[in-house]
C-alpha cells in the first residue's frame, strides 16, 4: 500500500477548492456558480476526511456527513431560487440581476 503524505493530500483538497473558487468568480451562469460552491464544499469535506484518517479519528467522516447534509439542503434551496429567478427575469446571468443595492444618492 502506497502511503501518500498528508501535505500532498491537503494540497489536492486545496486545488479542488481553488477550482471551485475560480469557477465561482469567472462563471456568470447561476447554475455553474452553484456547482462551483458544491465543489468548494466537497473540497472542504475532503480536507476533514484527510485529517480524520491522519489522526485515526472518526470525527472527520462525521463532519463530512454534516457537510453533505448542509450542501443537500443548500442545493435544494439554491435550485428553487434559480427556478424562481428564471421565471421572473427569463435569464440565468448573475450580472444582469443587480437590483438589490443601495439607491444612488450621491
Amino acid at each position: 500500500m502506497v502511503t501518500i503524505s498528508m501535505e500532498i493530500q491537503l494540497l489536492f483538497a486545496g486545488m479542488i477548492f481553488l477550482i471551485g473558487l475560480v469557477g465561482f468568480l469567472v462563471r456568470r451562469n447561476v447554475i455553474f456558480m452553484l456547482l462551483s460552491i458544491e465543489i468548494m464544499l466537497n473540497s472542504a469535506g475532503l480536507a476533514f476526511v484527510i485529517a480524520g484518517s491522519h489522526w485515526m479519528q472518526t470525527d472527520g467522516q462525521v463532519m463530512f456527513i454534516f457537510i453533505l447534509t448542509v450542501s443537500a439542503a443548500e442545493v435544494s434551496v439554491g435550485l428553487a431560487l434559480i427556478l424562481q429567478m428564471y421565471n421572473h427575469f427569463r435569464t440565468l446571468d448573475a450580472d444582469s440581476i443587480s437590483k438589490l443595492r443601495d439607491k444612488k444618492v450621491i
Binding site: 473558487l21 465561482f24 468568480l25 456568470r28 456558480m33 448573475a94 450580472d95 440581476i97 443587480s98 437590483k99 438589490l100 443595492r101 443601495d102 444612488k104 444618492v105 450621491i106
Partner: protein
Amino acid sequence: MEAYIGLIPGLPVLSFLMIVFLGRIMSRRAIAIIAVGSVCFSAILTIMAGISFINADSGGTAFTSTLYTWMNAGGFSAGITLKLDALSLVFCFVITFVGALIHLYSVEFMQDDEGFSRFFAYMNLFVASMLVLVLADNLLLLYLGWEGVGLCSYLLIGFWYKDPENNNAARKAFIVTRIGDTFMIIGLFLLFISFGTLDIDTLMQQAPVQWHSGSPLAVISALLLLGGAVGKSAQLPLQTWLPDAMAGPSPVSALIHAATMVTAGVYLIARTHVLFSLAPAVQTLVAIIGAATLLIAGFSALNQHDLKRVLAYSTISQIGYMFLALGVGAWSAAIFHFMIHAFFKALLFLAAGSVILLLHEEHDMHKMGGLRKSMPLVFITFLIGGASLSALPLITAGFYSKDEILWYSWSSVMGEKWLWLAGIAGALITSLYTFRMIFLTFFGELKIEPKHKPGILMGIPLAILAFLSLTGGFIQLPENFGHVHLFSNLLNPLFPDVRFTGEALPEWLFQVISAIIALGGVWLAYHYYYKKRTIPDLFNQHRLNDFFYKGWGFDWLYDRLIVKPVEWVSTINKNDVLDRIYTYIAQSTLFVNRLLSRSQNGRLRLYALVFTAGLVILLTIMLTL
C-alpha cells in the same frame, strides 16, 4: 407665644394661596378683605409678640419655633425654624405694620385695575417672603426668603406687563440683584465649609473662636455677604436697578422701598455683624460704600423730573446712611433709621402715588404745581414725610435717627471725619431735593386739575404714617436731652456697644450743625424753586445736570462694559459655534456612509471577489506573522 410665630409669615402665605386658587370666583371685596386682613393679623400678632417680649425680664430673649425639618442629610440640617429676637421683632413690626397700611391703601389705588387679585396675591407673597427672611434662624431659610423677595419684586415691578418697558425694568431688577445673590450664596457655601452649619446663632458663636480678627476667610466671607447686601439694598455699584423699579404701581414702590426688599441688605449685615466685626477692613468698606452712595444718589435725585424717581434716589441715599451707620459700628442706629425711614418713605410713596393717580398718570413734577389747595391731606402728609426725610430739627423723627448716625460717624472708633462730612453734605442735598420736590408739586399755580380727592382708604394710611413720621423719633432721644433709650435698650443685648474715641466733641454741636444744614437746604430750595431765582451758572451746567440726571452714567457704563460685549458675543455666536463641531461630525459620518454605500452595487461576483481578496489578505497576514 412661640406657637404663634409661625402664623406671622403663615397668614400672608395662606392668603396668597387662597387668592391664587380661588381668586377667579371671589369678589374684589372678598379678595381685599382676605389680603388686607391677613397682613393686619400678622401685624397684630407681631405687636402681641412685642409686648410679651418687652415684658420678659432680660432683653436677650428670643422665641423659637420649629415648624418642621426641611432637610437633614450628611451632618447638615436646616429646619423651617423661625426665631423672633429683638432685631427680627423690629423688622417684623415694620414689615407687617407698614405693609398692612400699604395693602389698605392699595385697595383703593388698584380698584379699577383688571389685575386686582393678581396684585394682592403678589403683595401677600412679598410680605411673607420678607417675613421669612427676617425670622429665619438659619442662613438657608434666610436665603429662601431672600430669593422669594427677589421673585416678588420681579413680578410686581413688571406688574403692568403689557408695556415692554416695565418688563425690561423688572428684568433689570431681577438680574442686577441676582448678581448680588450669587455672591451671597458663595458666601453661604464658604461659611458652611468652614463651620459645617448654617445656623446663625452657632455661626456667630463659632466665628470669633475659629477666626481671629482680620483673617482672610473672615474677610472673604464678609465681602461675599456684603456683595449680596449691596445687590438687594441697591448700593454702589449695584444701585442701578432701583430707579427703574418705579415702573411698578406706586404701592409696590412703597413696599419695596419702605418695608421689604431694599432693607434686606441692612438686615443681613446687622444679623451677621459678628463677621463684619472680625473683618474691620470690610466694615470700613461698608461705611465707604454708604457714604459714596448717599452722595451719588443725592446728586441724582436733585436733577430728576419724575416725582417717583426722586423718591427712588432718595431711598438709595437713605440706605446709604444705614450702611454708613453699620460701617461705623452703630448697629442699632442703623436699625433705628431703617424703621423711621420705612415710615416716612412709605408715606412719601403713597402720597406721591395719589398725586400721580389723580393727575392722570402724570409723573413730571414740572407739569404739576399748586396741589396745596386742591388736595390738602396729601399735601400735609407729604410735607410731613418730606420734613422727616430732610431731618428738620426737633419735630420730625428723621432728625433723631439721622442725627444719631451722623454723631456716630464722627465720634465712634470706626468713624472718620470725612465720613461725617459726606453725611452732612448728603443731609444738605437731601433737604434741597426734598423741598424742590415739594415746591414744584404743591406750590405755584395749578397746572393740572386732579380728578377727585383721595378716598378714605387712601387717607387713613397717609394719616397714620404721617403721625409716625413725626412721633416715631421720640422713642430714642439723644443723650443730651430727653435721654429716652427705648429702642436701643431693646436692641442692645444683640449688638456690641459703640466705642467712642477719646476726644469726642460735644453732641449738641453736631445737632446744631445738622439742624442748620437741613434748614439751609429748605432755604435754598425756597429761593431757587419757589421764588424762581436764577441758579448760579456754576451749578447750572447743562452737561453736569444731565450727568446727574442719568444717575452718574452708571447705566451707560454697564451698558458698555457688560451689555454690549454680551450682545456682541451672542451676535457672533448666533449660529452656535460649539454646535458646529457636532454638525461636522454628523456630516462627515454621512459622507463616509455615502461613499461606502456606492460599493453595494448588487453585483454578486464582485462581492465574492472582494470576499476572496479579504480572505487572501488575512491569510497572508496570519502566515507572515
